[in-house]
Amino acid sequence: MSEKVLEVKNLIVHYETQDGVAEAVNDVSFSISAGETLGLVGETGAGKTTIALTIMGLLPKPAGCVISGEVLIDGRNITETSRNRAKQRKNDRMMRRLRGNDVSMIFQDPMSALNPVMRVGDQISEVIRLHSSASRAVATQKAMEMMELVGIPGVRFKDYPHEFSGGMKQRIVIAMALACNPRVLIADEPTTALDVTIQAQVLELMNDLKRQFNTSLLMITHDLGVVAEMCDKCAVIYAGQMVEHGTVEHIFNNAQHPYTQALFSALPSLDKDVDRLKSISGLMSDPMDLPPYCTFYERCDARCHRCMELDPPLTESEPGHFVKCVHFMKDNGAPSPKEGAAAAEASL
């Protein structure tokens, strides 16, 4: 594989609120190489968006803070903070230069992601002018090209967001995100708010552009279908932790973590005829009050006594495939998940 464009190392992010500390991201590490797509899968509240915002340096202040870990973009650490004001200002300036230029983001809801009182063309050219010395005219020209590129006539440059449909707005958001040809593009559930037919179009567009610009993509989604279609690698996030990580093939063909397995069994399948989809019982652990042991324990079908004894580390179960489960820990003598489940049943 080529150089790593984005690296996240042992990232821990907390939200410090008046009610307490929410441990939103707990020791997450991953990396993306140039041109590669990583899917970040998990249910709502798992901490996916927090990871994305941390990479963008847009954690809501002052609540969100990076406790430890690093985010490297092209080898530059962006999570560094300094008490020295001048230094911090320098950090901020560097971060601003990266944002929109080296790393940009497509947000979940295209309806609200565009400034309603600004012409769309201006919103696109804004980012171009910010990161290049292009004149207004050149930036406008470039913005129109970008619009054409995402399939919107350039003449609509002067229109306002409310004059576009949802899918078109998302295209504009994409045009805006790609305008400066970023190294990394973060897409936070880019299709969730769109009609199914439009979804496919937008995904296809993203795929095309990604290839065209050789952009690395961090695709955040709760839709495994999107992952299958778009991604090279996949990471499953649960309660701010990465519980399984591997290539798309690893995850789809050999899901090992009980949570991942549960996700797949919750999917409708064309092959099997089931009356009811399986759901995962219970709720995700409260990030304000995470247990010191396996966070999935309460909802796990394969739990056993060992699961409450320790917080299992991420373990490589096969080359390039990592799982965070007691049952896959090496030299621990624990039973495999299936055995564990059997044992649990027996003990009841």
Partner: protein, 325 residues
């Protein structure tokens, strides 16, 4: 758009008529003989009666109302002041510029202070700046204007002697009244700006702007402010409307000859032509202000403009449908 403005201007006619009829009804039920003010209390009965007859005060209120309207419409004649015998229109026009200056200068001062204050408070919510500026805003709203005006006069004019205590023929004479009325208005506008801005900074498009790598100040001012402005404009419109009615306290303390003082005196003297003329002027000024504010909305928010156009289109369509049928 032109049609809309014309329509709004035409709407002022019923507004003025409505307000006027209320004034006439009030004049009917309020005790007090305006003749006292004209000929004096010690005038003989015959003189008083002759005056009553001359002014048509013996006519029923409806007759007086109609003849007043006819005079206003046909000749632009607002009648003559009972107190001075001079045309009310002249007297009002002599005072209105002062009221206009005071109103607009103080609103501009208020905006210059209030908008940054509101923005800062919203961006740094719950910070020291926020608390301090909201305390300042609260101070502006809750402080008794009369007391505050005297205090500023005492401090800047009497103690420090920096500014004259009266005399608006010089620029320096405007400083205190404008600052006083302005600061009194800061509170309201800053609070509106803050709450509106608080809502806006949570919006996704603000995050989008940040994600572009835009500077925070530009994010707030360019992307945030314009979106947050509509409630602020509504507030400013009201403030202007009210101030046009005369900042009576500032006018009397700082000796500014404005519409407020004129009306106050007229009311005290039961000087009905002056009161009616003043009301007409104020109703018009208020309506025009509101129209300008509405036009400003559409200038600021393209969605409103679109809505407005769509409505017109629908109406046009309906009309053509109606004709077809």
């Amino acid at each position: 758009m032109f049609k809309y403005i014309i329509k709004r201007l035409l709407w002022m006619i019923p507004v003025v008529l409505g307000v006027l009829s209320i004034v006439f009804i009030l004049s009917e039920i309020t005790s007090g003989d305006p003749v006292d003010a004209i000929v004096g209390y010690d005038a003989p009965i015959e003189v008083r009666e002759a005056k009553r007859e001359e002014l048509g005060l013996n006519d029923p209120v409806a007759v007086r109302f109609i003849s007043y309207i006819v005079k206003v419409v046909t000749r632009g004649d607002l009648g003559e002041s009972y107190a001075t015998g001079r045309p009310v229109l002249d007297e009002l026009l002599a005072r209105f510029p002062n009221t206009l200056i005071l109103t607009f200068a103080s609103v501009i001062v208020a905006l210059i202070i209030a908008i940054p204050l509101g923005l800062l408070s919203a961006v740094k919510q719950y910070s020291v700046i926020d608390n301090a500026s909201m305390a300042f805003a609260l101070f502006g709203v809750s402080i008794p204007q009369f007391w505050f005006a005297l205090l500023t006069l005492l401090l800047f004019s009497v103690k420090l002697r920096w500014l004259p205590a009266s005399g608006i023929d010089r620029l320096a004479g405007w400083v205190l009244p404008v600052a006083m009325v302005g600061i009194a208005n800061v509170g309201n506008i800053a609070r509106t700006a803050r709450s509106s801005m608080l809502e806006v900074v949570r919006q996704d498009y603000i995050r989008t702007a940040r994600a572009k790598g835009q500077k925070e100040i530009i994010v707030v001012v360019v992307h945030g402010l314009r979106n947050a402005l509509i409630p602020v404009i509504a507030n400013v419109g009201n403030t202007i409307g009210v101030s046009l009615g005369g900042a009576i306290i500032a006018e009397s303390i700082f000796s500014i000859s404005g519409v407020g003082q004129y009306m106050l005196l007229a009311i005290n003297q039961r000087n009905w032509p002056s009161i009616q003329g003043g009301i007409v002027l104020l109703a018009l000024a208020f309506s025009v202000t509101m129209l300008v504010m509405d036009l400003l909305y559409t200038a600021i928010d393209p969605r409103l403009r679109a809505e407005f156009k769509a409505k017109n289109k629908i109406r046009a369509k309906k009309n053509s449908d109606g004709e077809a049928a």
